[in-house]
Amino acid sequence: MIKRSALFAGPLTRGWARLRAWSWSRRSTPADAPLSQHRLFVIPTGFGLAWAGLILILFLFGTNYQNNLAYGLSFWLLAIALVALLRGWRNLLGVRVTITPEGEAFAGGEARLRVRLAASRDRQALAVCLGRRLGRRAGRRAGRHLEGHREVVDLVDGDASLTLGWPVSARGDQPLPRLRLESDWPLGLVRSMAWVESPATLLVYPRPGPSTDAAMLEARSMDESTPQAGPKTPREAQDFAGLKRYVPGDAPSRLAWKQWSRTGVLATKHFSEPPTAPTWLDYAAVTGDVETRLSWLCYQVNAYHRRGEPFGLRLPGLVLPPASGSVQRRRALSALARFSLDSASEDAAHGGSDDGFLGKSSSAAPEAGATGSDARAEGA
């Protein structure tokens, strides 16, 4: 019996999954496309059902008292409900949803999604929700879980945008979540809704966590000793390396005001850092399971970057030469995010661990997390 059910379990679950996938493909609209009437769903809310009861009560009232005005009011409420159905449907029809990840995300934290809504005319009270719970309850958080997120916005002059928190738990390339666009405008009797799916993915970095492991504690104490020496070498110890033309974002403390007053050209003083011995962050040097190690490495990458120290990264199947700066950080984090033991061992089998250049996985600039400063650093 058990065996048979196990036998059936395979096809059944697969069939169920296929059914679900098919149903979602029927239900959802791709991002950037206007919502079409084929993908717009209208369901009554609880209040809508109560409204139906109200109409019935008024109708019975009119019948039993033979009261034509009561009849009239009940018919009017019915007519209003029908019109509200249409108006609510029309409120959502043709809205164009664009989903863009914003900033960078670490597993266990919250990614931020920028949702841009555009339409040809004004729309009211559009709610963008994440998660399965319907209605206003979607906004409330159930327990400690970040169950649902909900933002309400009005489209004025055909355009609006909002930011939605998206709790991410796993690292790696995560497909953007399916968003639900819903609205109970105008009366709250019916909720019209549509699902929007974006083909884009977001690269989620590992959870940056100092571990409680003894080995790492040791390592941490070691690297915590360095900040006491000062995260940055004091300016006196640095060598003046020359002036560069001012770029927006340069530290004001390093502006060459004298030169500016003399020449009228705003420049920035640049100092050369005294060379420090580059640190290697090594996967093999950390104990624990894969995620713990990656988590710790991630933490370290962030810590080194914050201090401005150069570092190198050694993962099975991938070596990043020591460097500093945002680009290095992002490469390291991407490598960590995409790291998987299987591919690493494959790489090793193919003799991939080699000249220490970028792993192939991180060669593509991650779509996500490219902040302005990063882009500039890349361009420089």
Binding site: A33, P34, L35, S36, Q37, H38, F47, A50, W51, L54, I57, L58, L60, F61, G62, T63, N64, Y65, Q66, N67, N68, L69, A70, Y71, G72, L73, S74, F75, W76, L77, L78, A79, I80, L82, V83, A84, L86, R87, G94, D122, Q124, A125, L126, R136, G139, V152, V153, D154, V156, D184, W185, P186, L187, G188
Partner: protein, 785 residues
């Protein structure tokens, strides 16, 4: 508009803001206002108290209304209602409970959901107010209240808009405007059911006539201008002197007052079954009975028209009755038949099966004359007089009877003549009569009184010589409105006498002898100067009937009111069926036209080649006409919607170009767009343009070359047109021009624009294909690709 930026909810996303609570409270007040005219005023105090408590809770952070407070307030409410009505049996108390609980609900209204519940109850309470009254004023009030409630609902589901009030009002207007026609259609088309179960109804005070008549009764009625009923006739309208509305007959006289004997009382007194005196039916059974007994030689005449011996049914009238606690119904003469079941009485009057708790319509056929059938109570009952009362009247009757030589008609004529000759006068303020022999006192001493005095005296005089007589209480007259309906008011109440001789009852109205103008022109004509007339009516517009415009306005309003009551409030299954039948009839004409057209077509087709040709020509003509009309309309709409500013024109052009598959690049100016078009055209000639991508551009030059010189020439035209238009745009936008130059350039712009459009269309038509249009259509309807 000061609260236009106040949100619906507080910052916690749950609690209602003060502005929203205020809206709810205003809604409550509107709904309460619908009831307040009919209910105790202290409900207003309840509303204010609740609002004050809620305000404190919101503003001064007072704790939420706890269970104790809520229970106490409900108990207090119930107690107050108990004190007011002495129980919860009758509907008024139940209504009070509903309203009170609706008001108290505000105490525990905290979230959006609660607010919606309050609004939902509000609609129920609003509907309940129609139990009091269904007048136009009530309907308008309900319209205002319902609009406000809907607006509150819209506000509740609104987002964090900058101007929520305006947006919500606009949406409310859309909702109400779009739903109104639907509501009207439902109202007209929805089948009506009878009452499903019985519910308590409102107790109505009895107004108008009472069923006993002592001197002074009708004088009281003349002080009031309350409406008794309205009536409209299908067919002839009776002359003023014929408008005798019979309601009750008063057959029992105790020496002082005439009183009505109900059928139950009669049956008990005379020890006969009740069915002798009252029968419930759709046709008056008493007319049929007498017909059957009297006219045996007329077979089939009994059931034929149902109005055989009671006189033919001369009037078919529709009464709109005011609510009253007693089920009395007026009828012009003898009631004969009604579509609904009625309770017909042996004395030729009738009642409804139930009392009216709201205005009701009764349709009735009646004879216009006193009944021609004998009263089942018998002759003896109608000649009964109290012993030893009014001896001088009896003596007078004996003398007149002797003079008439025993001829009842001559006797009655003598009585009436006496009223006409002797110094009798008609007054609404007669001297007070007292003592045992009141008819004596009136007839021989004071000789001043009004209808009931005269009727009473006449009936006594008739009975004194053995002529069966009874007093009829009812109304006489009625105000005729321009649209033909009559309004009968309390001051039209009247009493007259019916006497039996020659096998029928005959109407005898002494008032018509003493004060003929009362009969011809109504009470008002007679007693306008009298203090008693309309003494209780306050500032009634009826007092100002001499002021022409007030009277006109009053009549117009009453007519509107009557129509409302008759057509909206009184809308019934029958009206619906009639309306639907008329609708079908109206649809009949186009259907017939269609059928003849079909026949014509088939005859033309069957008549061979010439007919087919003719048919083709006709169809072509019709199509051409339709096309011309359609294109004309389209052009008109376009002209109407054409932008007037330069910017609008350019935007229009950009959209037009995008529609043809040449969208502007982001940030591209119109001139640059045109120049790019001019430059790109030769390469992309007859392709899908820029947007179709590069893969087709390879094959294009060959195609373009294949077109030959003609295509090249067109291409050059377009290029120059684009350049010229771009120049004009740049001149208008950037060049420093004075006014005359600007005007000139504007003209140039318009000419060049027209030319450019023409050339562009020619080129793009050459490229041919409806692909662009199809793509546009698909995009419009979101069909994907």
């Amino acid at each position: 508009m000061s609260e236009s930026s106040v949100p619906v909810l507080l910052a916690d996303g749950e609690s209602l803001s003060a502005a929203m609570l205020r809206r709810l409270f205003i809604g409550q007040c509107l709904v309460l206002g619908m009831h307040l005219a009919f209910m105790p005023l202290w409900l207003l105090a309840v509303a204010v108290l609740v609002a004050w408590r809620r305000h404190r809770q919101l503003i001064e952070r007072a704790p939420q209304a706890g269970v104790v407070l809520r229970l106490v307030s409900i108990v207090a409410l119930l107690g107050a209602l108990w004190a007011q009505y002495g129980g919860f049996g009758d509907l008024e108390a139940l209504l009070g409970m509903l309203v009170g609980i609706y008001l108290l609900k505000l105490l525990e209204t905290r979230t959006r959901r609660d607010a919606r519940v309050v609004i939902g109850i509000g609609f129920v309470v609003l509907t309940a107010s129609f139990l009091h009254d269904q007048s136009i004023v009530m309907a308008l009030g309900a319209l205002v209240a319902a609009t406000w409630l809907v607006h509150s609902l819209v506000m509740l589901s609104g987002g964090a808009q900058a101007r929520p009030l305006r947006v919500a009002w606009r949406e409310t207007a859309w909702l109400l405007g779009l739903s109104a026609p639907l509501m009207v259609a439902l109202f007209i088309g929805m089948p009506r059911l009878g009452p499903l179960w019985s519910l308590p109804t409102l107790e109505r005070a009895s107004t108008g006539l009472s069923d006993s008549m002592a001197p002074g009764e009708i004088a009281r009625l003349s002080r009031s201008d309350a409406r008794a009923f309205r009536v409209s006739f299908e067919g002839p309208v009776p002359a003023p002197a014929e408008r005798y509305w019979r309601v009750y007959t008063l057959t029992h006289f105790d020496g002082k007052r005439w009183s009505r004997e109900t059928p139950e009382a009669l049956a008990a007194t005379l020890e006969r079954p009740l069915s002798d005196f009252a029968k419930t039916a759709r046709r008056n059974p008493f007319t049929a009975d007498t017909a059957r007994s009297a006219a045996t030689d007329q077979p089939g005449g009994v059931t034929g028209s149902g109005s055989t011996s009671g006189g033919s049914s001369r009037y078919r009238a529709e009464f709109l009755l005011e609510p009253d606690s007693r089920p009395w119904r007026p009828s012009l003469g003898t009631p004969l038949a009604s579509p609904e079941r009625q309770r017909f009485f042996g004395d030729g009057t009738f009642e409804g099966v139930t009392a009216l708790s709201s205005r009701g319509l009764v349709t009735l056929e009646s004879s216009g004359e006193a009944p021609a059938f004998a009263d089942p109570a018998g002759r003896a009952w109608h000649t009964l007089l109290p012993r030893g009362r009014n001896p001088r009247t009896l003596a007078l009757a004996k003398r007149l009877w002797r003079d008439a030589e025993g001829d009842p008609e001559a006797y009655l004529a003598a009585v009436m003549a006496r009223f006409g000759e002797a110094p009798y006068r008609y007054t609404l303020e007669p001297p007070r009569l007292s003592g045992e022999h009141r008819v004596d006192a009136f007839l021989l001493d004071s000789q001043a009184g009004y209808c009931s005095h005269y009727a009473s005296a006449t009936a006594v005089l008739a009975r004194a010589v053995g002529i069966p007589a009874r007093v009829v209480a009812g109304f006489q007259g009625g105000e005729r409105h321009p649209d033909g309906h009559l309004t009968v008011r309390d001051y039209d109440a009247h009493a007259w006498v019916e006497v039996w001789h020659d096998g029928a009852w005959h109407r005898l109205d002494p008032t018509s002898v003493i004060a003929p103008e009362r009969i011809e022109q109504g009470t008002a004509a007679l007693s306008a100067g009298s203090q008693a007339f309309l003494a209780d009516a306050g500032l009634s517009p009826l007092r100002f009937r001499d002021v022409a415009w007030v009277n006109r306005a009053r009549l117009a309003w009453e007519q509107l009111e009557y129509r409302w009551q008759r057509q909206v409030v009184g809308y019934e299954r029958r009206d619906r069926e009639a309306l639907l039948a008329r609708l079908l009839q109206a649809l009949e004409a186009p259907w017939q036209a269609f059928k003849t057209l079909k026949e014509r077509v088939s005859s033309l087709v069957s008549s061979g080649g010439v007919g087919a040709l003719r048919l083709g020509a006709e169809v072509l003509g019709v199509l051409t006409l339709a096309a011309v009309l359609g294109f004309g309309a389209q052009a008109g709409v376009r002209r109407w919607r054409r932008p007037s500013t330069l910017r609008g024109l350019l935007l229009d052009d950009a959209a037009w170009l995008a529609g043809h598959g040449y969208p502007a690049r982001p940030g591209e100016s119109p001139a640059a767009h045109l120049r790019r078009l001019a430059a790109a055209k030769p390469g992309a000639d007859s392709s899908g343009g820029e947007s179709s991508g590069g893969e087709s551009s390879d094959s294009e030059p060959g195609l373009a070359g294949g077109r030959g010189a003609d295509g090249q020439q067109r291409q050059r035209d377009l290029e120059s047109a684009c350049q010229a238009l771009a120049e004009a745009i740049e001149q208008l936008y950037y060049a420093p021009l004075d006014d005359s130059q600007r005007r000139r350039w504007r003209e140039v712009f318009h000419t060049r624009r027209r030319h450019w459009r023409r050339v562009f269309l020619r080129v793009s038509r050459c490229r041919g294909g409806s692909a662009g249009r199809l793509a546009r259509w698909r995009q419009t309807w979101h069909l994907g690709r």
